[in-house]
């Protein structure tokens, strides 16, 4: 089994706002349906709340705190799931059930075991 991060790229909005209740309900439905492989995950607040952290000069260097997301595009990282699947095909099949995949992008990446 491999653990995959399914990174959700969607509109940069406040998903807790009432007008998104219906979509959030679809995420709830996905979460219940795929509970067998979901190991964790979260929805994220909009990028206006994001902070970037960079350490200048490498390990032990100055911590440079910046505002906003790392890369600004129309679609941004809005959440993620940790999925434990037997192989990439299962991870992709599961990610395809995440609502964001229907209108935006979900990026699937293997997670480094720590």
């Amino acid at each position: 089994m491999t653990t995959y991060a399914a990174l959700i790229y969607a509109a940069d909005v406040d998903w807790t706002a009432p007008e998104h209740a219906e979509e959030m309900a679809e995420y709830g439905e996905f979460g219940r349906g795929a509970a067998a492989v979901i190991r964790g995950g979260a929805a994220l607040y909009p990028t206006s709340t994001a902070t970037t952290v960079r350490v200048s000069g490498g390990k032990g260097g100055d911590v440079v705190t910046g505002d906003g997301p790392y890369a600004e595009t129309k679609e941004v990282l809005t959440g993620f799931y940790l999925l434990e699947c037997s192989d990439l095909d299962e991870a992709v099949a599961t990610a395809a059930r995440i609502p964001a995949a229907w209108h935006g992008v979900v990026e699937v990446r293997p997670v480094i075991p720590m």
């Binding site: 699947c85 037997s86 192989d87 990439l88 095909d89 991870a91 992709v92 699937v108 990446r109 293997p110």
Partner: protein
Amino acid sequence: MTEHHDGQFDGHATLVRLVRDEGRRVLATLIRTVGDWQVAEDAVADAVERALATWPRTGVPAQPRAWLIVTARRCAIDLLRRERRRAEKEASAVDLLPPPGERDDDTIDDDLLRLVFTCCHPALEPSAQVALALRTLCGLSTAEVARALLVGEATMGKRITRTKQKIARAGIPYRVPDAHELSDRLLGVAATVYFLFNEGYSATSGDVPLRADLAAEAVRLARLVHDLLPDEPTAIGLLALLLLQHSRRDARVDAEGRPVLLAEQDRARWHREEIVEAVALIGRGLRRCPDRPDPYLTQAAIAACHALAPSPPETDWAAIVSWYDVLLTVRDGPVERLNRAVAIGERDGPAAGLAAVDAVDGLGDYAPWLASRALLLARLGRDADARDAVDLALAAETNAARRDDLHRRVALLRPVSSTDASHGPGSTKIANGSRGDGPDRPRPA
């Protein structure tokens, strides 16, 4: 698969081909049993090297595949012993390897199919798929793959390593897709093989010889996929399409290595036996998918219309238009629509053709669309419009050979004097297709 078990060593090239064909089967099995791509590859490379060193002296063994499997398996065990010091891992690895003498051809074919689908997995970049297919399925060395794809050897080595890492880390499964996803995944395999064919097809005589061999490698791969999945319309169509295009290899360049218009090719130099095989394949394939024709099969049918015409004027353009109508039902894109419009121009005359070409949306700055308009306007005798259209087409066309081609084709129809001097070296017989439409200018599928 043709096998040579006569124990006779008849030429180094034949031996290399035999060892490569068998070697990839052995590799496919070893990847599954060892579970480590790199160890499997090194072991097979070792076994292949030993075969090439030994067989010229001893003769080809009666069972070359069994010889290679046994040798590669021993090499793999040696490698695992050296690389994995821990005793229990070594023991389990040895247990996993198939017993010597296992010659279950079905299993071996399944493994080869697993290798095909893994190399062409959609999670891999298309260029990485092609490199990996050449490396593992065609048995080319990294240096040969690099030369064939016009990439530096170090860069290619890194690309192949990265691709194998992605397969291992991302967990791309070593398996044949389930029935419900097989036809979709097979389209991906076909796209990779077709891309490979085009790489070789578009090579000119000045290129390294290996590049031109890519087309032959692609035909071999298409044959392999067809042998493994003989009932799949895409596999049938892909092999037929490549056979038809490849059958013209000796006629499509002149003595100086320059491309020759399809209409001007010496049809006696087409490889008739390949055309015959392709036509039979198309017939068999179409019977397998009467309701939803496969796009490769349909393109093969169009290519067959050209291949079967005894001379260019005898081309059955009505049949070609009909096949494009079929193609549009499964693959509807502006390029397909343009090709159909050009065929209409051949069937019904330039006025109908121009109307059809103008009706295709979304190709406003696409050079072949502009060139098709220019040629149809020239055929209609609308010289001023044709000149404007030629200028637009030349501005959009970046490929020098195609610019020359357009000059030449317009000049054949009607001299367009004012534009000639400023565009291109004006050499003749540089062309890539008889009409805008394309069996001699294959497009990525």
